[in-house]
Amino acid sequence: MSDRTLFEKYGGFASVSKVVLAFYDTLLDSDEIGPFFDDVDMSRMVDHQTKFISSLLGGPASYTDVQLRQFHRNLDITNAHFDELKVVLEETLANHGFEPEDIQTALDAIEARRELIVD
């Protein structure tokens, strides 16, 4: 099937779960974005990243624009934070064998939502 999602292309949840955990680790270590998660409970944070990566790759999760805006409201997220997140994501996907073209697709999908996230 030509219209299969990146989620399916890269081996479903068995593989995507590794991306989620790596992304989670990098986010927590990041001094730019990490502080946003200082007071977030671990299971909520993991839940958030699982859904984020899954929906980004076309897996079984999706957020509406209204939800995205609601989740990120009042967090003082700047364009610099947003750019940093893209860098972290790009590295994570590259480390897990994603092809450059597919990484770009994922980054474009995030970029399209910049206005919903950045205050």
């Binding site: 927590l28 502080p35 079984p60």
Partner: protein
Amino acid sequence: MSIEAINEQLLRAIGVGVALLGRKTLQFHFHNDTFEEWFGNPNGPATLQDIFSDFDVEELNKSLNETGRYTTEVKFKKKRRTMVIALDFTATEEREPEIAVLVCQNITRIRELESMIDSYSMMVERNTREIKREKEQVEKLLLNLMPRSVYEEYKTFGVVTPQLYEPVSVLMLDFVGFSETVTALDPSVTVTELNDIYSSFDRIGEQFGCERIKTIGDAYITVAGLPDPTPDHARAAANAAIRFIRYLERRNASHPHQWQCRIGLGVGSVVGSVVGIQKYVYDIFGPAVNHATRLQSFSEPMQISVQDEMARALSEQFELENMGVQSISGLPDQPVWRLLDNRKGIAASV
């Protein structure tokens, strides 16, 4: 290097936190590097409570006394990551002074994975529920388009084999002056009215074992004896036809919009099949459909015209009026009968 020294080196370097405590005092006698990395250095006469502030010492002592072991978990933040460490205490036996061995395992990753599986399975379960709901809706829709047995065949094999049903009775109903009604009424009113009437026809038909095949605008076609053959298909169609008229009369008496219909009843064989690949529909073809259609257009408003062969089957139980031999377009000249509602005769005499 002595064996003792090697043991100690191993104990220090291992990725598991290890500490030795006085059994009674709960003071630290020894801890390895991993322990220190996680919990800091228990300097001097530090006790368990100094390192783990909310520790349930009572529970620990109770469990160590009873079983010699105690297991618990502690959580703390390292930078901003929530660390989860499993603590496992074992009391040593027959040694003075009594000590407790504390082994600490980092189960952070396990907890993170559990959270991720929870999150993922919840998403999948929700999707599964949605898919199930959608499937039910599709099924409901398809069951509106075709009889259940045909749908089951379609679901199992992906195709429906055309079937000859013989004999069946076909009821064709059409509204009088429908085009004028449509132009006179608001479109949404027309649709609401038709929806209401057709739904009632469906219910009435169902009572008598008729299967609605389709509606085309103001034409309503239902059939008895399909998909399951029934010996009294003619009676079923006749009963439905009489009730359709009664229903409309009752409805007209209380509704602002008046609906008059003509009905034709035909009998014979039909072929039933799903037609079309993308936009498929279940349809029937054959002489019975043709007869019903022609007789319907021959009918006067609110009258039911019946094919000769069918009238004979109905004559014992229904009141029929002989209309004589009629020439109807598309059919050879033939006797036609009018089906009467014998309850009306009773009603009139009361």
